[in-house]
């Protein structure tokens, strides 16, 4: 373990609304290590999204210290911060945020545009990435020609095409039905395990959160609990065995992307076939157990 991917020390975020200060975050400290899988839970309005925006350098803290990829955010200019985002962070949003009139492959290639990569190489890398999320057959579809699950997969491919250190997913399944959401979730988990990108995911679902190696509970702008401090990881520090910074060219098949698999998935079949087994994964039946009113928010 070298430098942490992101480090926040006593971070505050205060908004001024009509002269009244509202603190969305009130002194948050946490460290995201390379390759981690972290679930962030907490009721609505507790500051989860604000935290994600800060961890991704999309926003600046009002107080405290925030270091992303070894660089102190407060010392960076707006263009420098943009470049840092481009190089180290991938965002996945609840609302997908794809460019409507742009094909899947060009949507995925967008971050490379701002990195100055030539058009041809961009397309190649975007197409390869789409292949990894199981959309190799949807390169030239536009968002409105794709299902919700497929759109979110495109967004995930876009987040990962730059080979970032951290993937920040803010309720990535919030706009999807449960089966499709499950498939997207499995994809995220698999990419985390395979490529070594740290995955920080906001979720309302306790069950989903339970699958993460580390859970952070946020309430009223404060971290109420962080499982990293409750019990030190016993399974080899929670870092996946393979740290693979560049997406390899070899077709390492992705869950639910095999031929004949229905796009977006329907029913519980998504990801049930052709999936690589992952250490620490819970049996499927258990995942689908009815929830018992533990829904946050």
């Amino acid at each position: 373990m070298t430098v942490p991917a992101v480090e926040a020390v006593d971070v505050w975020r205060t908004y001024e609304l009509d002269g009244v200060s509202v603190s969305a975050l009130r002194g948050v400290s946490l460290t995201i290590d390379q390759g981690e899988y972290v679930a962030v839970i907490g009721p609505s309005g507790s500051g989860k999204s604000t935290l994600m925006h800060l961890l991704g350098g999309l926003d600046r803290p009002s107080g405290g210290r925030l270091v992303i990829g070894g660089r102190d955010v407060t010392t960076l200019t707006a263009p420098e911060l943009a470049t840092l985002r481009n190089e180290t962070i991938g965002f996945v949003f609840q609302a997908f945020h794809l460019l409507a009139r742009t094909s899947a492959v060009d949507n995925v290639a967008l971050p490379l545009v701002y990195r100055g990569v030539g058009a041809r190489q961009r397309r190649e890398r975007a197409a390869a990435m789409l292949g990894r999320v199981g959309l190799g057959h949807r390169l030239h579809h536009r968002p409105n020609q794709l299902s919700g699950g497929e759109q979110q997969r495109v967004a995930i491919a876009r987040a990962l095409v730059t080979v970032p250190a951290v993937l920040l997913a803010d309720e990535p399944t919030g706009n999807l039905d449960s089966a499709t959401g499950e498939a997207v979730l499995e994809l995220l988990e698999q990419l985390n395990a395979e490529s070594g990108v740290a995955l920080v995911m906001v979720t309302h679902d306790q069950e989903v959160a339970a699958r993460a190696r580390r859970r952070i509970a946020v309430r009223d702008g404060l971290i109420r609990s962080d499982s990293a401090h409750d019990r030190p990881p016993s399974d080899g520090s929670g870092v996946p065995a393979t740290l693979d910074p560049a997406p390899s060219a070899e077709p390492r098949s992705v869950s639910g992307s095999g031929p004949g698999h229905p796009p977006g998935g329907s029913g519980g079949a998504a990801g049930a076939t052709g999936r690589l087994p992952r250490p620490g994964e819970r049996p499927r039946a258990e995942q689908r157990l009815p929830r018992s009113g533990g829904d946050a928010g």
Binding site: P79, F91, Y114, R158
Partner: protein, 394 residues
């Protein structure tokens, strides 16, 4: 982001909203086209008039009572033929002096009639003003001396009165008096919308008898020495002032006429261009407006682009290029439309139009500049958007 990439993004954005882009461009198209057309007409008219004045010869001197200035009322002439003789003595060659006494009159031949200008002149007129005949002969000294009722018709008058006959030897009635046609002028064309072939020349003596006057309106001199034309003018004015102490006289050269006309037509062209420029400005405001709408509509897109690494400048440049592209494509289209219309006007109507490169360059430059000027505010607004707020926009 590479600039070529930014151009492509801007172009795609405009194409995605084709109708709106075209409507926005329309303002610029109309503005640029009207600049090009109006400047072409102004320039064409100026060139035509200058050509005609130059056709008079650079050693022509026009002597008239009163001052030649814009806005001065004409003065009743005190001149008569003895003054013309006096001027001839100053010049030293009667063959270089021409006179005119002119009035509107109805010319009749058979059952046809034409209202025209009858000019009483000396036999020297064709050499002083460089006029040529298409047929027959001009007036002679004997015609003038004996007040002979003979007439030389302008081309238009000849066509109007004798559409299917040879006018030579025919009778025309001018203000009720019969004249015999001895010649027809070669056509001159139009000047500032005035038909220069709508005139009839008769001996000055016959014209004076026709209208019961001894007066002449003015004297024209073809100076023997171009270098000393101003000095000759002064001497003529001095002589006439001596003979008519109560009247002011002016001697104007072609150069002065060109100067005055050039000033008038230059101002006219400028005013036309300015009016057209205002419509270009209005087009620019339209571009600004649409760009602001576009920034608002695409707030989430801006937020997303920033999230994946677009710098404020990348976003600003993208929107600025979009505005510049709108106005430049509009400008090019307007130029094509303007040039086409101007060429049509020149070919199909009596209004002359001349395309000048400077007006095209100006119109295009201004339209591109309009894009920059009116695109900067929306572009800056886009570049400065807070990505978090932008991503949350509806």
């Amino acid at each position: 982001m590479r600039l070529a990439e930014a151009w492509r993004v801007a172009w795609d954005a405009l194409r995605a909203n084709r109708l709106r882009s075209v409507l926005t461009m329309l303002g610029v198209i109309i503005g640029v086209a009207s600049v090009v057309i109006l400047v072409a007409i102004g320039t064409g008219t100026k060139q035509q008039v200058e050509q005609q004045v130059e056709g008079l010869g650079s050693n022509l001197l026009l002597v008239v009572p009163g001052r030649i200035e814009v806005g001065n009322a004409p003065v009743v002439s005190p001149l008569d033929l003895s003054d013309a003789d006096a001027v001839s003595r100053v010049v030293g060659d009667p063959g270089r002096v021409a006179v005119t006494v002119a009035s509107g009159a109805t010319a009749r031949a058979g059952n046809r009639s034409d209202f025209t200008t009858v000019q009483g002149v000396l036999e020297t007129t064709p050499s002083v003003f460089t006029r040529s005949l298409s047929r027959g002969r001009y007036l002679t000294g004997a015609d003038v001396d004996t007040s002979r009722r003979v007439a030389v018709l302008g081309d238009s008058v000849a066509r109007a009165l004798f559409p299917d006959r040879d006018p030579l030897g025919q009778q025309v009635t001018l203000a009720g008096v019969r004249f015999r046609v001895i010649g027809v002028f070669a056509p001159l064309g139009q000047s500032l919308g005035v038909d220069r072939d709508d005139e009839v020349h008769v001996p000055v003596t016959a014209a004076q008898r026709l209208w019961g006057t001894q007066r002449i309106d003015g004297i024209a001199v073809k100076a023997p020495d171009r270098e000393r034309i101003d000095e000759l003018g002064e001497r003529i004015v001095a002589e006439l002032s001596r003979r008519h102490p109560d009247t002011e006289f002016s001697a104007v050269t072609q150069r002065q006429i060109l100067g005055v006309l050039g000033d008038i037509l230059g101002v006219l062209t400028g005013v036309l261009a300015a009016i057209a420029g205002i419509s270009l400005l209005v087009g620019g405001v339209g571009v600004s407006n649409i760009m602001l709408v576009s920034v608002r509509e695409r707030t989430r897109e801006i937020g997303l682009r920033k999230a994946v690494g677009a710098r404020p400048r990348d976003i600003g440049v993208q929107f600025l290029l979009e505005a510049v592209l709108l106005t430049s494509v509009g400008g090019l289209t307007g130029m094509a439309l303007g040039v086409g219309t101007a060429l049509l006007v020149d070919a199909l109507s009596p209004i002359p139009a001349a395309i000048t490169w400077w007006s095209l360059a100006l119109a295009f430059g201004v339209s591109a500049a309009v894009g920059i000027v009116f695109g900067v505010v929306p572009a800056q607004r886009a570049g400065r958007l807070d990505p978090v707020v932008a991503l949350r926009a509806e």
